[in-house]
Amino acid sequence: MSTSPPSWWSPCRIAVGEARRWTIGPASLTAERRAHEWRVTVATGDDPLEADLEVAEVVDPAQPATAGATTSTRRFAFDASPASLALEPRLADRDVVVRPADPLTIPAGQTTLLYVSTPLWFSAATVDPRHTLFEAPFFRPSDTWFGPSTVEGELCYASRTTGRLDLSELPVRPHRAITPVRIRNRAKEPLPLERLKLPVGILPLLAGPRGLWTPQIVLTNSEGADRADIVVQPGAPSEAGSVVAIAQPRGRPDTALSLRTFGRWLRQGAAS
C-alpha cells in the first residue's frame, strides 16, 4: 500500500508571533506572521533535483533554513494580518524544453510515450482575505532559446531532467510535475528527437498519489509540416491514479494546437 506524499499546498493557519517553514525540493520558505505583517523568507539551495519535503514545521524565524543557501526576504503589511497562508503550485511561466536521456529517433509511422518532468513555481497567498503575495520558482531553471535561428524563435526554460521512456526511471519530486507525452511520427522519415518543447502554459496541474501531474499531450509529426499538432488529452493520465485538479492553466486552455515543438536547429547557426 502506497502512502500519498503530504500536500504542501494546503492552507496553514499560523498564530501571531509564530513562524513555519516549508522545505520543498531545493527551496525552503519560512513564513512569519506578525500582528500587521507577513514576513516570508525564501532560501534556495544548490541542487535543483533535491527531493526534500517538510510541510509547515514550527521554527524559530531567526534560525537559517539552509547553510549557504541564497535567501531573499519579502515583507507584506496589513491592517491586521490574515491568519492563514497557502502555497499554490503553478507550472512554469514559459514553455519548457526537454531532452531525451539519450539521442532518440522515432522511425516513420511509430508512436512512443515519453515521460518528462518540468519545474514548478509556487504562489504564496493569504487565504482570508485572499491576497497573492508573490510567485517564485523553487529553483530558477536556465533560460534557453528554441527556434530555427538566433533571430527567430522563442525564449523558454531548459528542464534539468531528461525525458524517460520508462516511468519508473523518473523520480517523483515534490517541486516538479510529470507530463506524459505521446509522440506520433506520421511522416515518411524518421524523427530524431533532440529537443522537445512542452507548452506548459496550456496545461492544468493535477495532484495524485504519485505526485503532481499534467494531462497527457499528444504530438503528431506530419509529412512536410514544420509544426507538430498538439492535443491535450482530457482527464488525468491513467498512470497518475486518482487525481484532483489544483491549478488551472496559465494561458488559454486550448485542447488542440499547432506549435513548433521538435527542435534540431541552431547547433551550426550559433557557432559562427
Binding site: V97, S142, D143, T144, F146, L155, A158, G263, A270, A271
Partner: protein, 313 residues
Amino acid sequence: MTEWAVRLWRASIEGLRALGDVSLWAPLLRASLLLVVGVVLARVVRRVLSRVMYASHAQTRVLVQRVASWAVLGVFVVSALRELGFDFAVVLGAVGILTAAAAFASQTSASNVISGLFLGIEGTVSIGDIIRVNGVTGEVLAIDMLSTRLRTFDNLMVRIPNETMMKADITNLNRFPIRRYDLQIGVAYGSDLGKVHAVLMEVADANPLVLEEPAPLIIAQGYGASSIDLQFSVWARKEAYLEVRNDVQRQVKSAFDRAGIEIPFPQVTLHAQGPVPSAAEPPSQGAPDATNPDDAPSEPSADDVDDQDSARG
C-alpha cells in the same frame, strides 16, 4: 497744435467707425475660428490615432500621428487664409521663386528631413531601441524631422542630425531577442585545457541567465605572448545581457581560482650581464663602478629581454 489735435480726433473717429464695420471683422473672425478648430481637430486626430494604434510600433505610430495632424492643420490654415482674401493663384506663382530661394538656404535642413523619412521607412532604428552611432551609445528617444535624439546611459541627451544618421554605421543593440557575450581570456601555458574547458562550461551551466541553447562556445584564439588565448562566448536574452556580462567575468575568475587555473599577465625578466655588486661591498679593483657613469653597464640588448608569464617563471 489745435489743427493737429483736430486731425487726430477725426482719425480716431474714422478708426472707430471702421472697427464697427462688420464686413471688416467677419472674415477675421471666421479665419480665427477656422484656425482654432483646426488646432483642436489636429490634437483630437493625434489622440485618437494614439489610442487606435496603441499596438503598433512606436515609430510608425508617431509618424502617422504627425502626418495626419499636420494634414488636418494644413487644410484649416489654407481655409483661414482664403477667408482673409489671400489669392492662392498669386501665392502659387510666388512659390516657385520662394522654393528656389529656400532650396539654396535650407539644403542641410531638407537633407535632414529626407533622411528622417528614409530612416522611418527603412526601419533600422525605432523609438526605444538601444543603438551605437559614431561612438555614442544610447536609447532612441525620438526621430524628429531634422534630428534623432538619444539618451545616453549617463543620462545625457545627444542630438544627431538625420543626415549623419543616414551616413553613419548604426549598430542596433537590442533588435534581436538574444545576444552573445564574448569574454576574451588567457590561461597559463601550463594549464590543462580540458580542465579549463570543463570549468568554463560549469560556469555557464550554473548561471540560469546564460542560455542553454545556443550552447556556450569556447574558441581557441591562439598562442599569445604570455598565455593561451581563448574566447568564451555565452548567449543571454537582451534584457539580461549586462547582468550576464558582469556575472560571467566574476564567476570565471572565482572558478579559475578554485580550480588552480592561472590567468597570467605579461612579465619582463631582465638578465644582467656580469656580477652585480652588493651595497655592503665596495667595488673591487678593476670591477666596474656602477656609480661612475663611465663604468655603468650599457643598456641591455634585445636578446636579454625576455617576456615570460608568471606560470612559467
